[in-house]
Symmetry: C2
């Protein structure tokens, strides 16, 4: 069996490393516009070969689209065009609405499976890939009824092999939830990084005074712009709503602090503390 990984970065690379461990004889082909990424992926044992897209797809049983989401939209029709009968293509994108729309418009839609592994780090590229990334995390599969049963079964098996728990929903639900539990976190971290960098011109001061709390909150500001800009763009209606709600809470909080209204300040934080139940659950799983 031959698997092609298109975009050999953190997520595609980690998927390949996890699956290779379970299936040592599966052959992996990498496709990447970056020659360096291809060489790193070969050197790290993520893939056995690096080939041009059409050549890789034409000999694959499974094609994994692991590029930024704007590139997924560009490549998906081409990959479906070249995909052999009986083969499957899946994407690992963090948005699902537009990608599923593109798939729906293609005659070979049933060979496509839309998935989103809820896993990542703030690092990117094949150097950041590691085989444990997906283990214990959640996978969302969208519009499963539109994929043919064999393609769906192959996808489910491989991600279960990688240690993931599977969830099912439609692309609209996916994009709405993700705006709140993922995309908003990233924007809050990017904006926090910008605010602190602008104010604290002396990086040494940040370094000396920052606590582990600051590091934790701003960590996602290290994330890849090339990955996130198209995510925010594709999910902009939901992200814009989430940001509006977040800004509203921040403005209320600021007013409460300006007014020295310690009672309401306490109340805000006590309500926010409810998140502990959710986080403690996430840490335990």
């Amino acid at each position: 069996m031959v698997v092609s990984i298109i975009g050999i970065g953190l997520l595609g690379g980690s998927f390949a490393l996890a699956i290779r461990e379970k299936y040592p004889k599966m052959r992996f082909i990498g496709v990447d516009t970056s020659v360096v990424n291809g060489q790193l992926a070969l050197a790290k044992g993520i893939v056995d070969d690096v080939l041009p897209l059409e050549e890789a797809v034409a000999q694959s049983t499974l094609v994994v689209l692991a590029t930024p989401v704007n590139i997924i939209i560009d490549l998906l029709p081409t990959v479906l065009d070249y995909l052999p009968p009986g083969a499957t293509v899946l994407d690992l994108g963090s948005t699902k609405g537009l990608i599923c729309d593109v798939a729906d418009a293609h005659p070979k839609r049933a060979q496509f499976v839309a998935v989103h592994p809820m896993a990542g780090t703030e690092n990117s590229g094949p150097g950041a890939a590691f085989k444990e990334l997906l283990s214990g995390k959640n996978l969302i599969i969208c519009d499963r009824e539109k994929s043919n049963p064999d393609s769906l079964t192959l996808t489910e098996s491989l991600f279960r092999d990688a240690g993931m728990r599977l969830f099912y929903m439609n692309p609209q639900e996916h994009d709405l939830h993700l705006a709140y539990v993922s995309h908003l976190s990233h924007i809050s971290a990017f904006a926090l990084g910008l605010t602190v960098l602008e104010k604290e011109k002396d990086e040494q001061a940040i370094f000396d005074m920052a606590s582990t709390g600051f590091s934790s909150t701003v960590r996602l500001a290290k994330s890849s712009p090339a990955m996130w800009a198209p995510i925010f763009d594709q999910n902009r209606a939901n992200v814009s709503d989430a940001l509006a709600a977040y800004i509203e809470f921040l403005q209320q909080f600021k007013q409460v602090i300006d007014d020295q209204d310690v009672h309401t300040s306490l109340d805000f934080m006590q309500r926010a503390n409810v998140i502990r139940r959710v986080l403690d659950g996430i840490e335990k799983r």
Copy 2:
């Protein structure tokens, strides 16, 4: 030598545990308005006795004020009143301006040392204390020239023993920097928690879909409201400025997303990425 810890929570308890390990014969007295906290601190071996404040202070060589900052302001004059000649009181508060003002107004100012250990977790109470909390972290000492040399030397020695690196600045600089590298992070997390909880009425959905990135960004929303409300209040001018700058960046980001201006979106994130240099340094130290 007798040390009294007033407020036996995460920070006071962790300080006591770290120092006890180095000085097994030092006697520790706990003072706490919560009977349960006192009992937990005794059971955990954080303190040898629990006594009323005046009684504890009157026999101490060192008194550590480790309560929320509003209580530090209330208690500091009383503690100084009861403090024996030659003894020292220090506070561990996250704000320094108002606390130093209160100290400056007292005739025994020179027996006081204003410090802020840049360490903490989102948990509170004596149960959360652990002896490694302070190790490898930074301690800020304010207005050192106002403390008498013996009090300063004792303070510096003990925190170095706990594994901390020492920095010196005035209370105004401290409060300004902290608004950006600590207080703002907490408000951004509290507001993020509120936004997600309000939108995602179904906690199971957050649980199923939240990634480690979300957990990391919102972690500080678990922090103690009783500790943080008075910090925001005492440092409200700086915190309000920091929040205004943060909200402004978020509004710009929202506009850029609404406008589908992917170029500026990329530029924002690339500028925020500079924070990686700072964070990588913090993680290595």
